[in-house]
């Protein structure tokens, strides 16, 4: 099952990158270790959204909800129960996927913008509950000082944990996209009507994809808690969802790794431009406008195209 990955050209690049990133905490200051860890968490979130948006062609406009639900599930298990900590880690993705199943079950019955509107409504409902239910979720204060197991005691430990979980998740996502399930999902994106005519239960397939995507969003939520030791209702707010969507667009949603690049650019801008002006989103907005006009395939799509035309039809389809 891993053969296809081991033999692909991108795996060499990915492995080299992984080793480089693993050495990072030895070289750069603490602040950068934190920023990189944040980029990983955001990357996983953007990648999970792209499973359904880029590869599935669904209007998943409120993906942040599942990120937040995953993070809150873990936070609540850790702070409100005396269960072992690992249950919190498992609860995050499972609860997120369950909520994904419930919301998705309604959404796949509608198409396109109606799908999007329904998801935004149902998602906002969950946000409102989290935002208002002070006794249980801490309301707009969120939950802070979440206790972590000893093996995640320092920032460097958290960094490595996040990096490893990200790497495993990416391998799984890659396998899923290259499987018959993924191939069928992309066929549905291109032509749902034809898929029905060849015997595919389109809605059910889309629902499976949503469950998988929300599961990974839940993992991203757990990783956020590992890094920040806190959760906020903003994670479930629609602005968050829009931001992830922008990351996918920025990086290129028809590529595998594009959303990670988009996440890195967004987090980087917020951190470094945000230092000088609180209007960093202005820069993001301008970049986005230029992008839509000049690089409609996203940054990664553009890089791949340039790279490929230079490589002269060597092997088709880079695994990136």
């Amino acid at each position: 099952m891993f053969k296809s990955i081991v033999h692909s050209r991108g795996s060499g690049i990915a492995l080299a990158l992984l080793i480089l990133l693993a050495l990072l905490p030895l070289i750069v200051p603490r602040f950068f270790v934190y920023i990189f860890a944040l980029i990983y968490v955001t990357s996983l979130l953007a990648m999970s959204l792209n499973l359904v948006v880029g590869h599935g062609g669904m209007f998943q406009f409120h993906h942040g909800v599942f990120y937040g639900v995953g993070a809150y599930a873990m936070a609540l298990v850790v702070t409100k129960t005396s269960w072992p900590l690992w249950i919190g880690f498992v609860a995050g993705p499972l609860v997120a996927a369950t909520v994904g199943l419930l919301i998705g079950w309604f959404c796949v019955r509608l198409t396109r913008l109606y799908f999007a509107m329904l998801q935004i409504s149902l998602g906002s409902l969950i946000w409102a509950v989290v935002f208002r239910w002070y006794k249980f979720t801490g309301g707009d204060d969120g939950i802070h000082g979440i206790h972590m197991p000893p093996f995640l005691a320092s920032l460097n430990h958290s960094y490595y944990f996040i990096l490893v979980v990200l790497a495993i998740s990416l391998v799984l996502m890659y396998l899923i996209l290259k499987s018959p399930f993924g191939a069928t999902l992309q066929a549905i994106r291109d032509n749902p009507q034809r898929c029905e005519a060849v015997g595919i239960h389109v809605r059910r397939h889309q629902l499976y994809a949503i469950v998988i995507a929300t599961f990974f969003a839940g993992i991203a939520g757990v990783l956020f808690v590992v890094l920040e030791r806190s959760v906020f209702p903003e994670m479930l707010f629609w602005v968050m969802s829009l931001e992830i969507l922008i990351m996918c667009l920025l990086g290129g949603w028809f590529t595998f790794a594009g959303p990670m690049l988009g996440a890195a650019i967004t987090v980087g801008l917020r951190t470094f431009v945000g230092r000088y002006t609180e209007y960093w989103t202005l820069i993001l907005g301008i970049i986005l406008i230029l992008l839509i006009f000049f690089l409609p395939d996203g940054v990664m799509g553009f890089l791949l195209k340039t790279f490929r035309s230079q490589a002269k039809e060597g092997s088709e389809r880079s695994p990136l």
Binding site: L175, K178, Q193, E196, V198, V202
Partner: protein
Amino acid sequence: MLRVEGVVKSFDDFTAVDGAYLTVERGETVAVIGPNGAGKTTLFNLITGHLKQDSGKILFKGEAIGGLPPYHICRKGIARSFQIVNIFPRLTVFENVQVAVHCQQRRSSTLFRPAHTIAVKETRDILESVGLSGQTRNVAGSLSHGDQKVLEIAIALGNEPELLILDEPTAGMSPEETWTTIELVKRLALMRGLTILFCEHDMEIVFSIAQSIMVMHQGRTLVQGTPEEIRNNSFVREAYLGGA
């Protein structure tokens, strides 16, 4: 194998199909003819579940299939091609057919196994049998119109149907492509023992391959019979064959 009995379908106040009758026996090649707007495509859409009839019965192997969703009807053994090219333009030719084969083999939900290792032989065989094996790696959207129409048929074959429905398989083709495609359809009927239901404007083609012809006019079935009977039917000649 397939029986359509008095099917009616209207859109708002326009009745597209107004009493259609059709019988398709196993192993037969049956044509539906009629002028534009006679309701041929609507009838096909009713049979394959893309539309739901207002009244009447559609029986496949003795079972009522009217109103079932398209994916369900496909799994019962009816596959179709579309009049207007309806393929997966961003996927390769190979992947286009493979999607159908995966579904046929109930493997569309297989996770964690690379798709390109599953159902390869079956897909190759189909592409070879329709003459597209030279283009398997090309993106489907880049094919010529004629090849895309052939790919339509190849996708339908991926479902290993018992009944293959072709909605104007040669629409928009050059005369040369048309005859290659007709040869292909004949060969498929012969070699795979397929039952084929198709509609077509070119009377020469229809009379050359159909064993049974059903004539539609303004949503109604005028008559169904052998090519000989249709040719000699004075009513049909007046209404459709232009008194020829």
